[in-house]
Symmetry: C2
């Protein structure tokens, strides 16, 4: 299979972790006799510095004509602490999601038996957790109209959803549930929000065409509790853009590190693969960032193209790094292995 | 001191737990020679059944002229699962908050040493957690304009904040921080939301007049992680209505039960005291609901009126119930004590 892959390292630790994924992809090419084509492009704060735009047109163009995008991370402290900035690195990521129509972010949360002690949660609570969050990614309060009054004293964001936006991701989520443990939990705030009530109505209706899937609904506040008290009750979680952002990061607590979790953002035409974690500028260029989330995102890309054997080889190599304790210090405090070394180890074990 | 207290039991387990608080208040009257005046009024689904309104005018009137309101809980399954309902029990609570101008919900989260094993989080993570969430309660997406298109296919909620709404709660929070460990964490999503950027700007500005308080900002997704990975880093958390709803419920995970945490909702003229937990209709009339959150909310009321000795006596009695394991089954699975019995025990120990 010949794939054209766009590489968008972005900001902070993004480029460093992405470099390890590419190393691993080269090992996959070698082992399985593939030939992938790579092309790098700037996005985020780094693109703003060179082009003034967080998503340069050429980058968007490249992404459109690629089979898949491997994304690093985005965001820089100078903008986080400047509420007046009119252009922000995050706009690059949001625009990319919107322009490519990547409406569903798929975020699996599955405990790694060899790392189970790393969670702040007790072992008996989290062992065998295996859930997938379907987060809507191109609607809601992220993309609704924003206003700031002329004198700067009143600001607003609109959270809007249409039936069609809800139904396309709902179908994906129900289909995934059908292939798994047949349970879908909708998370919303239907006791307060009109948009949540549209979610509840639409998803309940769609649920009728998936009679084999058991559907339940939880309010977001309760879901945030249940996620920590009893994560094993969940199979597929379906939720909107904002709630999905919070709930999926919170889900990383189950694993004990944000540095280990991958995600896929899919649309009708394109697909992008990115770690859960952010740009973590404090760790940049220190060779301490965990490359595993990026590498596992790359494995999700392989799965996406039906390269299951290849994806599996990557995951086996990652698990081996855990068992052999070849991990970055976020996973094991006493570890002296750096980003590079862990990347080398994993790629060297893709056989 | 003579206090006039409105009792709003509401739905589900609300009335049962509130009854235990009143029992304890009577014990406080006895022990400290006070004379409080009580008046009950309907709110929520139960008020809808009798009057058609979730907040009858008489109830609102009573609340206005009372010194304080003790609130039970609100919400009923028949409305949760009916996205078409035009009138909902929750509107009673929201209207009460808005009409009385209860703009700040104060939600302390402090571990109880005798119950520390109950948390799904490991002991070394949570021991000595002591934080207070200041949640804005009368603005944001809860109260912004809601729309539903004529054909029902598009719904929206507006999240709007003004500088003034932000600044009044920010001052409360900074003042509280000054009296505590002098650290304030603002939680927002300033990398995406215009309203969050107004929060960040306004709170940062106000922070300058509290130089002794160290201020930091976190994005909500990161805050949800930090709350579980290292809750001891927090002193005062300041946040908006929606994020505060999620974060405070999530905070109850630290304690291991939503049945133990109290809150105070305060405004310029009125104050209301209510447990974190909801109406939990599944437990109604089973005599299994935990009355402690309600009783501790009542203790916050006593503190609010400067009755510190009285509040302390209530808390000592509650702690005794923990140590003696006179608790409901949510706290200790093997416990056979009911709501009533625990209420009797605690009130009997207010000496
Ligand atoms: C960087 C930020 C805009 C982004 C989001 O909030 O969607 C990130 O937190 C994520 O989850 O992918
Ligand atoms: C019942 C509901 C409307 C309410 C809220 O979301 O504010 C509750 O969850 C709370 O936290 O007090």
């Amino acid at each position: 299979m010949k794939l054209k892959i766009a590489l968008l390292g972005g900001d902070g630790i993004g480029p460093e972790v992405l470099a390890q994924s590419v190393k691993c992809l080269r090992a996959v090419e070698e082992t399985f006799s593939h030939r992938f084509e790579y092309q790098e492009a700037p996005v985020g704060a780094i693109a703003m510095t060179s082009t003034g735009k967080p998503l340069p047109d050429e980058t968007l163009e490249l992404c459109r004509e690629s089979n898949a995008i491997l994304f690093g991370a985005i965001g820089a402290l100078e903008y986080d602490n400047n509420p007046d900035a009119k252009v922000r690195p995050e706009q690059g990521l949001l625009k990319l999601r919107k322009e490519l129509g990547l409406f569903a972010s798929i975020r699996p949360i599955k405990t790694f038996p060899s790392l189970i002690g790393n969670s702040p949660l007790k072992k008996n609570i989290i062992a065998n957790t295996d859930l997938v969050i379907f987060r809507e990614l191109t609607g809601g309060i992220y993309f609704g109209r924003k206003t700031l009054s002329a004198d700067g004293s009143v600001a607003s964001d609109l959270c809007q959803y249409s039936e069609q936006e809800i139904s396309r991701i709902a179908h994906l989520a129900f289909k995934a549930a059908k292939k798994r443990r047949k349970k879908l939990t909708l998370v919303d705030k239907a006791n307060v929000l009109e948009s949540s009530r549209l979610w509840r109505k639409t998803v309940t209706e769609i649920g009728k065409s998936y009679p084999e899937v058991e559907m339940q609904s939880l309010f977001i506040d309760n879901a945030a509790v249940q996620m920590m008290m009893d994560p094993r009750q969940f199979d597929i979680i379906l939720t909107d853009n904002m709630f999905g952002d919070i709930l999926s990061d919170q889900g990383s607590v189950i694993i004990g590190s944000t540095g280990l979790l991958p995600s896929a953002s899919v649309g009708a035409e394109n697909a992008m693969f990115e770690p859960f974690h952010g740009s973590y500028p404090q760790a940049k260029a220190k060779n301490i960032a965990n490359p595993v989330a990026s590498i596992l995102s790359m494995a999700m890309m392989l799965q996406h193209f039906g390269l299951d054997e290849e994806a599996n080889a990557v995951m086996v190599a990652v698990h081996k790094s855990f068992v052999k304790k070849v991990v970055t210090p976020d996973v094991l405090g006493s570890s002296k292995y750096g980003t590079d070394y862990v990347g080398d180890y994993i790629s060297g074990n893709i056989v």
